[in-house]
C-alpha cells in the first residue's frame, strides 16, 4: 500500500513536468492556431542552455543557490526570447497560409535545432548537477523519495495558478483570451495583434524552456529529448482540449499517473497506453476533456479553391518527362532505378494522403498506419502462407482498406487537429501491435526475405512495375476527385450544412474516402516492402506519417499535382543532402524554411499561380 502511494507521487512529479511543456503548447495553439511541432525542440534547448549556464560561465562560478536557480530561470527566458524571434522572423509571414502549413515551418525548425544542438553541445548525454537545497531524499511511508520530485509536484499547480492569474487578472491575459475566441474581433477593436502573438510565443516558449531546464537535476540532457516530449505534450493538449489550461493540467495528471501505475500492471505496453487512453477520450469526448467545440466558421470565411488539373502546357511537359523517363530507364544505372521506384511509392503514398487532406479536408497525422498495414499484409502472406508477390500486391490494398474502414469509422467523426490526433493514436496502436506481437510480426526485428517474384527481381522490371502500379493508383485517386464522389467530398468539406441539405451523407462520404485513401497507401506500402526486402515497425512509425504530411504540405494541399511534386522534392532533397553532408538535417530544414516562406501555397500552387500570371499578362 505504501509503495502504491509513493508510486502515485512519482506520477504527480511526471505530470508536473509534462504540464509545463503542454501549457506552453496549448497557449500558443489557442491564440495563433499554430500546431507548434518545434515545441519539443524549445524544451530541449531549455535543458541544454540550463546545463551550460549552471556548469559553465559566470553563474557556474557563482555556484550555490543562485548559480543553479539563476541558470534555470535564465535558460527559460532565453528560450522565450528565441520563441519570440522565431515568431517574428518565420511564423508571422505564414499566418495566412492554409491550415497546418505552419506545421511544415515548425518541423523545419526541429531539423535545424537537432543539428545545431549537436554542433554546439556534442553528441554525449549531459548530466546536470543536483539542485541546491533539494539534494537527497526524504522518507515517506518508509520509502526514500527524492526531495526534488516533491518540489516538482508543487511546481505544476503553482504554474497553473500563475497562468490563471495572468489570464484572468491582467489586461494582457484578457486580450489573449479574447484572441483565443475571436482573433478578428480583437484586431477590429484596435489591438496590435502582432505584439500579442509575439508575446504569446515568448510565454509559450519560456514555459517549454522552463520545463526543460527543470529536468536538469532529474534526467540526462540528450539530443533525443525533443522527439520524446513533443508527441506526449500533444497528447496531453488534445486530451485536455485544445487551448484549455485546466484541461492540460488534468490530462497531464492522467498521463503521469497512467505511466506510474501502468508499468506495475503492464510493464511492456507503457508507450501505447497513452495512445489508447487518448483514443478512448477522443471517441467519447470529441473535443477533449475540457475543450469547447469551435463555433461555426465566420460567415465571411473564404472556402479554399477547388483543386484543378495542371494547366495544359505544364501537363504536356510532365507527360513528356514521364515518357522520356520510361524510355530512358533501360539505360539508367541500377541505383537511379532503385531511387525512382522509391519515388513512385512515395508519390502514391503522398497522393493518398492528399486525397483525404485536400478534397476531404481532414488532416491525418497517422497515415503511415495504412502504408504499414499494406506492407505487413504482403509480408505476412508471404511468410505464413508462402503467397507470392502478386497475391501480396493484390491483397495489400484490401487489407489496408479494411484497417482504414475500421479506424476511419472513429476518426472521421472528429474535425481538425482532434481528428488528426485520433489518426495518430490509431497509428500508434497499430505500430505497437507490429512491435509487440513478436510471434506473428517478428517484433522490432521485422519480417525479412520479402523479395519480389523471380520476374520482377531485376531493377528495371521492378521499376516498371512500381511506375505501373503507382501511376494507376494516382490516376484512380485523381479520377475519384473529379467523379461525383469527389464532388460530394468537396461539398461536405466546404459547406457541411448545404451539403447535408441536398442529401449528401457527410459521414459516409468521409468514411469511404478515408478507406479509399488507406487502400492506396497500402498498395504503396506493399510495393515498398518488396522493394526493400523487409518490413519493420518503423513503416508505421510517426516519422513516416510525418514524411507523408510534409510531402503533401510542401507540394500544396489545394492542388491535384501537389503531392507528386512534394514527394519528389522532399525525398529527392533528403537523398541528395544526406549523401552530400553530415549536416543534412540542418540543410534540409533551411531549404524547407525557404520554400515555406517563398511558396506559401506549396510548390504546385506556386507553379499554377506563376502560370496563371503569365497567361493573364499575355491576354
Amino acid at each position: 500500500m505504501e509503495a502504491l502511494a509513493v508510486q502515485a507521487l512519482n506520477g504527480l512529479a511526471s505530470a508536473s513536468s509534462l504540464f509545463l511543456v503542454a501549457s506552453g503548447l496549448t497557449v500558443i495553439f489557442g491564440v495563433s492556431r499554430i500546431v507548434n511541432f518545434a515545441h519539443g525542440s524549445l524544451y530541449m534547448l531549455g535543458a541544454y542552455l540550463a546545463w551550460t549556464f549552471v556548469s559553465h560561465g559566470p553563474l557556474a562560478e557563482l555556484g550555490g543557490f543562485w548559480g543553479f536557480w539563476g541558470g534555470v530561470l535564465l535558460a527559460a527566458l532565453a528560450v522565450g526570447a528565441l520563441g519570440a524571434v522565431l515568431e517574428m522572423t518565420v511564423l508571422r509571414r505564414i499566418y495566412h497560409a492554409p491550415e497546418l502549413f505552419q506545421l511544415l515551418a515548425t518541423f523545419a525548425l526541429v531539423l535545424v535545432v537537432q543539428d545545431v544542438a549537436l554542433l554546439l553541445w556534442g553528441a554525449d548525454d549531459k548530466f546536470g548537477p543536483r539542485a541546491p537545497l533539494l539534494r537527497g531524499s526524504v522518507e515517506i511511508l518508509g520509502l526514500r523519495f527524492p526531495r526534488y520530485e516533491l518540489f516538482l509536484i508543487a511546481v505544476g499547480p503553482v504554474v497553473l495558478g500563475l497562468l490563471w492569474l495572468l489570464f484572468h487578472r491582467t489586461r494582457f491575459g484578457i486580450l489573449l483570451r479574447a484572441a483565443t475566441q475571436d482573433r478578428e474581433m480583437v484586431s477590429a477593436l484596435g489591438v496590435d495583434q502582432r505584439l500579442l502573438f509575439t508575446a504569446v510565443f515568448f510565454l509559450g516558449a519560456a514555459l517549454a524552456g522552463l520545463g526543460g531546464a527543470l529536468q536538469l537535476p532529474r534526467e540526462a540532457v540528450t539530443l533525443h529529448m525533443d522527439m520524446a516530449i513533443i508527441v506526449e505534450a500533444f497528447v496531453v493538449v488534445v486530451i485536455g482540449g485544445l487551448g484549455s489550461l485546466p484541461g492540460a493540467f488534468l490530462a497531464a495528471l492522467l498521463i503521469g499517473e497512467l505511466h506510474a501505475f501502468g508499468i506495475l500492471v503492464f510493464p511492456r505496453i507503457t508507450l501505447v497506453l497513452v495512445f489508447l487512453v487518448m483514443a478512448v477520450v477522443l471517441v467519447l469526448r470529441p473535443h477533449g476533456l475540457l475543450g469547447r467545440a469551435p463555433g461555426a466558421p465566420p460567415a465571411g470565411e473564404q472556402s479554399p479553391p477547388l483543386p484543378r488539373p495542371l494547366p495544359r502546357g505544364l501537363a504536356l511537359a510532365a507527360a513528356g518527362a514521364l515518357a522520356g523517363l520510361l524510355l530512358a530507364a533501360p539505360f539508367l544505372g541500377d541505383y537511379p532505378l532503385i531511387l525512382l521506384a522509391d519515388f513512385a511509392v512515395f508519390i502514391l503514398f503522398a497522393a493518398s494522403l492528399h486525397f483525404i487532406m485536400g478534397p476531404g479536408g481532414m488532416a491525418s497525422f497517422g497515415h503511415a498506419a495504412y502504408f504499414g498495414a499494406g506492407a505487413y499484409a504482403a509480408a505476412l502472406l508471404l511468410r505464413h502462407l508462402a503467397a507470392p508477390m502478386e497475391a501480396g500486391l493484390l491483397l495489400a490494398p484490401f487489407a489496408a482498406g479494411l484497417v482504414g474502414l475500421l479506424f476511419g469509422w472513429f476518426c472521421v467523426r472528429l474535425s481538425g487537429v482532434y481528428a488528426a490526433m485520433l489518426t495518430l493514436a490509431f497509428a500508434q496502436i497499430a505500430w505497437s501491435v507490429a512491435f509487440q506481437w513478436v510471434e506473428v510480426t517478428g517484433g522490432d526485428n521485422g519480417i525479412l526475405g520479402v523479395w519480389p517474384s523471380e520476374w520482377a527481381r531485376g531493377r528495371l522490371a521492378f521499376f516498371y512495375l512500381s511506375v505501373l502500379l503507382c501511376g494507376a493508383g494516382v490516376l484512380l485517386l485523381r479520377r475519384a476527385i473529379f467523379a461525383p464522389f469527389g464532388l460530394a467530398l468537396r461539398a461536405q468539406r466546404d459547406s457541411p450544412l448545404r451539403a447535408e441539405a441536398i442529401g449528401i451523407d457527410g459521414f459516409r462520404i468521409r468514411w469511404l474516402a478515408f478507406a479509399y485513401a488507406a487502400a492506396f497507401a497500402g498498395l504503396a506500402g506493399a510495393l515498398f516492402a518488396f522493394g526493400k526486402g523487409s518490413v519493420f515497425p518503423t513503416y508505421l512509425g510517426i516519422p513516416r506519417s510525418v514524411d507523408a504530411l510534409l510531402m503533401v504540405l510542401l507540394g500544396g494541399v489545394q492542388t491535384v499535382s501537389g503531392p507528386i511534386l512534394g514527394a519528389i522534392a522532399y525525398a529527392g532533397l533528403q537523398e541528395q543532402l544526406a549523401r552530400l553532408t553530415e549536416l543534412w538535417r540542418l540543410l534540409l530544414g533551411l531549404v524547407i524554411l525557404a520554400l515555406v516562406l517563398f511558396f506559401p501555397r506549396g510548390l504546385a500552387g506556386a507553379l499554377a499561380h506563376w502560370h496563371d500570371g503569365r497567361r493573364e499578362r499575355r491576354a
Binding site: A123, F127, P146, A220, A260, N445, K532, S534, T538, E582
Partner: protein, 412 residues
C-alpha cells in the same frame, strides 16, 4: 571536450580525401592503375546515434590509415564511403544499393541497431554480396537468420549475457529482478540471463521484470516498481540515456543499497563517462577498461588515437578499428574482391584485436567473431567511474557448441 567530437570528425574525413588526392597526383601513371583503391561501403546510424558512432568512425579511420601506411592490400589502399541511414532499415537497404551500384564498393559493412543489421544481412543474402556487421548485437544475425554472406564482429547478446551469468552465479543473491529496454535486444538479454542462470543455479527465482520503452524510461516509477519486488539481485540491460536516468533515480532512492547489480555493457567508457560521479559502486559489468589496459598493442592504439583525434578511444572505437583490421586480414587472404572469394576467406580468418589480447577468429561455423569483452566491477574514483578487478573474457568460451549452432542456423 564539447566540440572535440565534431571537430575530430571533419579533419578525419578531410585527411582521408587529401590523402587520396595526394596519392593520385604523386604516383606515376604506371602505378596508378595498380593502386586503385579497394572501396568499402559503410552504413551506420550516424545522425541517430552520434555519441556511439563518432568514436566508432574515428577508430575505423585510424585502422584504415594504418593499413594504408603499411602498403594497403597488395599495394591497393583501402577507401571507405560512409553513409548515414538515420536509424531506418529501409534507408540502409536503399543506401546499400547505392553503394554497390553507384559507388562500386567491394563489400558492405557497418550497422549499429539490430534491425538495421538484419535488413542489411538479408539484402546481402539476396544480392550475394558480402556484409561485415560491426556493431549489431542481435543473436539472430548469425544464428536464426544467419546466412553465407554475413559476418559479425562484436560479442553478441548471448555472449555478453553468458559472461555476466558466470559472475552472477557466484553471488549469494537468489531473488532476481530484471530491467531492460523493451525491444529485441533487451528481451533476449533477459531471456538468456534467466535461462543460463537457472542452469547454473536452479535455486534462484526471478521475482519480476521491468521493460521501459527504449529512450523513454520513466526512471522514478521504474525504480519504485523494482524496489517493490524486494529483489536481492538486479540484472540491468538499459543503456545510454535510460541508464543515466535509471542510475540517478536509483542512487537517490537507495535502490542499489545492499543489492547485487549485474549490468550489460555499463563498463564501456560510452556509459561510464557521462555517468560521472553518479557511477554506482560494485556493479558487475561487461565493458572496456580503457585507462588501465596496458599492453603494447592497446597502449600504442590509445596513443595513436589520442594523437589523431585529441580524445580517448571508446568501446565503439575498438569495434571500428577491429572491423577494418578483420576486413584487411580477409582481403589479404582472399587476394581478390570477388564476393565468393572474400566469403571463403572470411571463414576462419584470424586477426589481432586492438584490445591487445591476442588473435580473434571468425568462426567458420556461424560467422561470429570470437572477440570477447572485459568483465569487472565498477568503482567510483574521485568524480568518475572506472572498471576494477577486470579480466578479459574470451568470446570463444561463451559461444554455444557446433551442434547447438547447427540446430539454430538455417542450413545452406
Amino acid at each position: 571536450m564539447t566540440f572535440s567530437q565534431t571537430a575530430a570528425r571533419g579533419p578525419g574525413r578531410r585527411l582521408l580525401l587529401a590523402g587520396i588526392a595526394a596519392g593520385a597526383i604523386a604516383r606515376p601513371a604506371v602505378l596508378r592503375a595498380q593502386a586503385n583503391p579497394i572501396r568499402i561501403g559503410e552504413i551506420n546510424s550516424y545522425t541517430a546515434q552520434p555519441a556511439f558512432l563518432g568514436p566508432y568512425r574515428n577508430g575505423w579511420l585510424l585502422a584504415q590509415e594504418q593499413v594504408n601506411a603499411a602498403g594497403g592490400i597488395g599495394g591497393r589502399p583501402l577507401e571507405t564511403v560512409f553513409r548515414d541511414d538515420a536509424g531506418r532499415p529501409e534507408d540502409a537497404v536503399r543506401l546499400a544499393g547505392e553503394l554497390l551500384n553507384a559507388e562500386r564498393v567491394a563489400l558492405l559493412a557497418g550497422g549499429y541497431l539490430s534491425h538495421v543489421g538484419l535488413a542489411l544481412a538479408d539484402f546481402a543474402r539476396q544480392n550475394r554480396r558480402l556484409y561485415a556487421a560491426s556493431e549489431p548485437l542481435t543473436d539472430a544475425l548469425v544464428w536464426s537468420k544467419g546466412n553465407r554472406y554475413t559476418f559479425r564482429l562484436r560479442p553478441s547478446t548471448y555472449m555478453q549475457a553468458a559472461m555476466l551469468v558466470e559472475e552472477a552465479a557466484k553471488l549469494p543473491a537468489k531473488r532476481w529482478a530484471t530491467v531492460a529496454p523493451n525491444y529485441e535486444y533487451g528481451q533476449s538479454a533477459v531471456k538468456w540471463f534467466r535461462e543460463l542462470l537457472k542452469e547454473k543455479r536452479p535455486d534462484v527465482e526471478f521475482v519480476g521484470e521491468q521493460f521501459p520503452a527504449l529512450g523513454r524510461i520513466d526512471a522514478g516509477s521504474t525504480v519504485q516498481a523494482l524496489e517493490r519486488m524486494k529483489p536481492e539481485g538486479i540484472f540491468n540491460v538499459t543503456f545510454s540515456t535510460d541508464l543515466l536516468n535509471f542510475v540517478r533515480q536509483g542512487n537517490t532512492r537507495g535502490l542499489f543499497d545492499g543489492r547485487s547489480v549485474v549490468s550489460m555493457l555499463s563498463g564501456e567508457p560510452e556509459y561510464l563517462e557521462p555517468l560521472g560521479e553518479e557511477c554506482p559502486d560494485g556493479w558487475i559489468v561487461t565493458g572496456y577498461p580503457r585507462d588501465d589496459l596496458d599492453n603494447p598493442t592497446h597502449t600504442a592504439l590509445r596513443d595513436a588515437y589520442r594523437a589523431k583525434f585529441g580524445d580517448l578511444p571508446r568501446c565503439g572505437s575498438i569495434v571500428g578499428y577491429d572491423t577494418v583490421q578483420a576486413i584487411a586480414a580477409m582481403l589479404r587472404k582472399a587476394a581478390s574482391t570477388e564476393t565468393e572469394a572474400m566469403v571463403d576467406a572470411f571463414k576462419g580468418i584470424r586477426y589481432q584485436t586492438g584490445y591487445g589480447t591476442g588473435e580473434v577468429e571468425f568462426r567458420a561455423l556461424d560467422h561470429q567473431a570470437t572477440l570477447g569483452a572485459f568483465v569487472g566491477r565498477t568503482k567510483l574514483e574521485g568524480r568518475r567511474g572506472r572498471m576494477v578487478d577486470w579480466r578479459y573474457a574470451d568470446g570463444a568460451s561463451y559461444l554455444p557448441g557446433p551442434e547447438q549452432v547447427r540446430a539454430w542456423r538455417p542450413q545452406e
